[in-house]
């Protein structure tokens, strides 16, 4: 697929603060480098517990990305790990927890699918962090971009809840859904749809009688 996506800008993960601020809502990019992922609510609670207890989570998050991606990893015969597949989960499930994580760790990128709310968007603008919207139903593409499993933590959790650090090459394309300047496609589109709704309903009324 790499030929198909040859015209997309590539950014290196973990994203530098400068790169994060260079992106604008609506931009589409490919990701190279290292990402940290989890799809688990209990995982977020554990990370917050680490914050409260003043200890580091098992995979360092300072200045890193924390992406809402779930994966299935398994042991390889050589002792390493491989990810068989990976895909985003709905980020809005984590709305109440993300502002604190974004601020505490100074995350430069979060992501998943479906977006995050205004509270998260404010935290992101404060620290210089972007939200990447991944294709749901994109497991064949996302999985092919993984080049190595660097670390897996909290193995007592089901596979997709574990905290996982991966090396990726050309992950995406992803859409910048929320930029570091306070612009959110999700909020803009939701507001736009609300503004359009009276006319949408009126049009349906005209079609109903017509």
């Amino acid at each position: 697929m790499s030929e198909l996506f040859a015209d997309y800008r590539r950014v290196t993960m973990p994203l530098s603060r400068e790169d994060a601020r260079s992106l604008r809502a609506g931009d589409m990019v490919l990701l190279d480098g290292e990402i940290t992922i989890t799809a688990g609510l209990p995982t977020h609670h554990r990370i917050l517990k680490c914050v409260e207890d003043g200890i580091d989570p098992p995979i360092p998050l300072q200045g890193q990305s924390l992406l809402h991606l779930g994966s299935y990893s398994q042991d390889k015969p050589d002792g390493g790990l491989e990810v068989l597949y990976m895909n985003p989960t709905t980020s809005t499930r984590f709305n109440p927890l993300m502002p604190r994580l974004i601020r505490h760790f100074g995350l430069t990128a979060v992501g998943g699918k479906g977006g995050l709310d205004a509270g998260c968007r404010e935290a992101m603008a404060e620290v210089g962090c972007v939200y990447f919207s991944f294709l749901g139903g994109g497991a064949p593409l996302h999985s092919a971009a993984i080049t190595a499993v660097k670390e897996v933590a909290w193995n007592d959790l089901v596979a997709h809840y574990r905290l996982v650090r991966l090396a990726v090459n050309g992950l995406g394309p992803v859409t910048v859904g929320i930029d570091a300047h306070g612009n959110s496609l999700f909020e803009t589109l939701s507001q736009q749809a609300q503004d359009r709704m009276p006319e949408i309903l009126a049009q349906m009324g005209r079609e109903r009688v017509g």
Partner: protein, 300 residues
Amino acid sequence: MTFLGKESLSAMPITQEAVKTLSAQLYDWSLRRVPDDTKDALRRARATETHEGAQRVLEIMLGSALRAEQTDRFVCSDAGVPVFRVTLGANARWEGDLKAAIVEGFDELVGRIQPPLLKHVTNPLTNERGYKGKDMPLVTWEVESGVDWIEIACQPKALGSGRWAQAETFSFPSLADIEAYVMKAVMQAGSQHCPPVIIGVGIGGSFDVAAKIASKATYRAIGSVNPEPVLAAMEERLLHAVNATGFGPMGTGGDTTALAVHVDYSAGHGYTPVAICFNCWINRRTRARIHADGTVERME
């Protein structure tokens, strides 16, 4: 239509084993392939989209669907929970325990499927996840008059789109009331249900019947015309309305928020439940029949 093999030409009863094997296969197949009608609808959407980012997202979707087929991998990492509709021909003959067949088929599939499934079956009282659970797989049983086959359809459901289903009960609603409620559900789902979606709407009956016919409506092929003229017109109106919201593919903007709206109804009593459910763009759906002579006909 594909005939997968003739196990017997005599009118033997349809076996528990046949139902077990086929139900497991239907679930497995559904994970690896976006249905043809859905890919066609995505291609049409890509051709008509006016939003550049949306054109690109639709292109990436089609790329993902193609790669899943080429590599025999899951389109989505979330295999959902196994959801089946089984239609028993009123003249069908079978032997054994068909309910147990579907449970056993899923259990065996969990043990052998490659790549393995993540644990998605969730106890709603504890949120613990595994491969087994009360009433799992979820099966809707129906009887159809005048036929002697058994049809099994599979549509795995996961949180991504399943989360946004809802129902409300009205008293003698107008069509305008019903359509406004559908739009309210569309607004609540917003960017979050992996659009462009297939929307099922069930009107009337009782509370459970409305949900059942809404879900059943999502199995209909995209592009098929509702035989009820009032509903055909409603489907067209709603599709235009949903796409006028502008949420677009993956909810990041565009003209394509839904690929289809399918509506069905049942007579009821003045209190009118309206149920709405969503299938994400990959629209996982497979269906096959076991005929009286034992042949298996894969339909999608």
